[in-house]
């Protein structure tokens, strides 16, 4: 058996696995998921474009004198200008970068915390497991926005949007912890682990190596759904006055300013475009998450003929 054959075998098997992966095929044949995916890909493209092309300081700076104040959308200002005479178009595009940045931070942080909590709970079992998981259950039983509202006050105001990220991380962690713990318990029951354990290999890293691949799919679904939630909740906290700094091109802040100052005096564009982008982004994540869940859930597949 030559090495060459071996590697091409592996390659073929990977391709086959992807082709045969019921999850991916299911996902890609799910029109709802594909619609969501396209929205999100578009968002990423916009975010990266904005990040590369625009200068944040220039976007934040007021432009009295050089631009008109509260001008309606036109060929020059596609989305109009706001009360600080800033062009809204680049701000809205940059908002995509903000949404992704802070959304990603929230999701990554809560995923990391959730994985740690879930694995520790599963690995040590007994009391540790109970304390961690029941704590998570209790956190989960509070309405998420109210819980975030209570938690956000603990963090100093100077943190700006990171304050919302910190609070929401705590709010979302339980969802991940639960998923991971479930998967981890399954792996622990595996004979293989039993065997390695018998040999004295009790390294939690071992567990991570075996658990993570197993719960990658549910974690991804959970992350996707929470991505959308994180973005909308960060914006909601900004709207209620716990979040972004003035002038920051965050959709929540632009929306709050535009509604408060522009919407009813005719300058609808000020809040309309940030709101539209926010809604589309969240919709994208929700569509994808929903499609993924469908694709993952074997019970749903053959439900009705």
């Amino acid at each position: 058996m030559s090495t060459k054959t071996h590697s091409s075998d592996v390659e073929r098997s990977i391709v086959d696995r992807i082709r045969a992966s019921p999850f991916l095929t299911e996902l890609l044949s799910n029109r709802i998921a594909v619609a969501g995916l396209s929205l999100i890909i578009g968002l990423f493209a916009v975010a990266i474009y904005a990040r590369l092309v625009y200068d944040l300081d220039a976007i934040i700076a007021t432009s009295f004198g050089s631009n008109p104040t509260e001008a309606a959308p036109s060929a020059q200002f596609w989305f109009g200008t706001d009360g600080q005479a800033r062009d809204i178009f680049p701000r809205v595009l940059y908002g995509a970068w903000y949404a992704l940045k802070f959304g990603t931070a929230t999701v990554l942080a809560s995923t990391a915390l959730g994985i740690t909590a879930g694995i520790v709970a599963a690995y040590y079992g007994d009391l540790t497991d109970n304390v961690i998981m029941r704590t998570m259950d209790v956190l989960l039983s509070f309405p998420s926005l109210l819980l975030a509202l209570a938690l956000v006050t603990i963090f100093p105001e100077s943190l700006g949007l990171w304050r919302a990220v910190a609070a929401l991380t705590l709010v979302y962690t339980p969802r991940f912890a639960r998923v991971v713990r479930g998967a981890a318990l399954k792996v622990l029951e595996d004979e293989y682990i039993e065997a390695t354990r018998a040999l004295g290999a009790t390294d939690p890293r071992l567990l991570i190596r075996h658990v993570l691949p197993n719960c990658l799919a549910p974690i991804t679904v959970q992350s996707t759904l929470n991505y959308g939630l994180a973005i909308i909740d960060i914006a909601a906290l900004s709207f209620l006055g716990f979040g972004a700094n003035p002038g920051d091109p965050s959709w929540g802040m632009m929306l709050a300013n535009g509604v408060e100052k522009g919407l009813f005096s005719g300058a609808w564009w000020w809040s309309f475009f940030p709101g539209l982008f926010l809604a589309l982004t969240v919709l994208g994540f929700n569509l994808l998450g929903d499609g993924m869940r469908d694709a993952l859930d074997p019970r749903m597949r053959d439900a009705v003929d």
């Binding site: 300081d57 007021t62 008109p68 104040t69 009360g83 700094n245 100052k261 005719g266």
Partner: protein
Amino acid sequence: MPGDNNQVSRRRFMKSAGSATVVATAASSVSGCLGGNGSGGGTLRYGRSAHSKTLDPQDTTSGEVSKVTNQIYDGLIDFQPGEAAITESLAVDWSMEGTDVTLELREDAQFDDGTDFTADDFIATYRRFVDEEYEYHVGDLSSYGPFTLGNWIDSVEADGDYMLNITLTDPYAPFLRNLAMFAAVVLPQDAIEGDFDFATNANGTGPFQLDKLDNSNGKIKLTPNDNYWGDGPNVDQLLFLERGQNSTRTQALIEGELEIIDNLGPNNIGQVEDSDAAEVQSGEGINIGYMSFNQSRVEAFRDSRVRRAISYAIDTESIVSEVYSGIAKQADQPCPPALFGHNDDLSPYPHDTEKAQSLLEDAGYGDGFSFDLTTFQNARGYNPAPMSTAESIRTNLREIGIEVEIDDRQFSDYLTYTSEGKHDASLAGWYTDNADPDNFYYVLLHPQVESPEGQDWVDWDTEGYNTSNRTAWANQEFMDLIEDAQQASDKDKRAELYHEAAQLAYDEAPWVYIDYADEIRGVRNTVNNYEVSAIGGPHLHLVDVE
């Protein structure tokens, strides 16, 4: 051009507002919303951003409370509608010599419940407010107690039912104005010493009386006081209605759900101007918006060249005309133009980046530096757009190499933070309490502690430091001027001292003077005889509705 585009948006808006008015009128006649006008009465609906927390004038420093209590209660002295001058009310004549104040009282005033007003009512009022020995002392609820009466009055004696002799602890020129403040209105002695809840109930000698208080919907209904001694009121009922958001409040005015609204934002002006049914009325405000340099914290700010450089760099003209949409005037000194302490010879620092740069270089900060600018988040009268102001400042100062980090906070947190002197610089502002220049100069720029030898600033933690002075500025020359003006009884002499102090405060620039905001109201065309008052009032008993 900016103007052109504004035009477009306003015209566009007019269209929709016009159609809204028509339909709204139709809708309201269906549901019977419009008050019956005709028989010389009618309903006057006053829309505002917040409901009264209490009806007790001695338990608050809130302007929202005073709008209502001023309709129900009278003070001994009142402010003239639309002016800073004082006029008679429950007192018809008075004199002040040194520390002796004598007031002659009105004999024809009655409270709502029909009891006569006498000198004893004022004494009970005074004692309830500040006399801890008094059985019915209200407690230390409001910092206005000491500020209005407590710090200055040594004793109050009645001479018969209608004469009052007040002895002051020290000569204090602004004292009569303090008697005109809303917190000093006269409450009935019977009620004070009886079981009367002033927070939810009211009994005064003023033009209106309380009819209904609806806290869950933020509504208050007043009806005329039949016993009122003066002119008016000219309406059957007066409603105070809470509409928190500027936008919806303005819309309610245009649609005919409200007759008068206050607290308009810069963005609502055009909305009202474009409406056929209502107009904007404005009056000169008695306030100042500024940026304070905390000299106790930031070494660079102790050099007046740095402070002046920043004053030159910040484009206050644009802030006033663009950010505030012209509802404010550029400021140039601590005391607003409505008061006699204002020095007319001064003019605002021009926007001059080059001059700013060279001043910075002289001071050794040519390469710039950085500081935090602490600000509150929501609009206040003297600063209709704090966040945007901060943004403009950040943009302007970047041009001369100074990096500004905006530190925005909820108002109460902002107050705590800045009163503890933790800010590098802060946006701040002040509305007058009693329309006396002393209320600006002494309260906001006098440290009220000794100025250390050889420097014109003090450490924030100095025992007894006046934390309302957010700059830690302690200029001996300025302090002397202000103290002399506080004691002098001659108005011209006082004016002269204040003008000198203004010049000094201009040259030394302990603040960046930003704006004097106008008092703006939206008023429906059906309203007559309404006068915008920057202090006292609103004098709604003079208003009639067609």
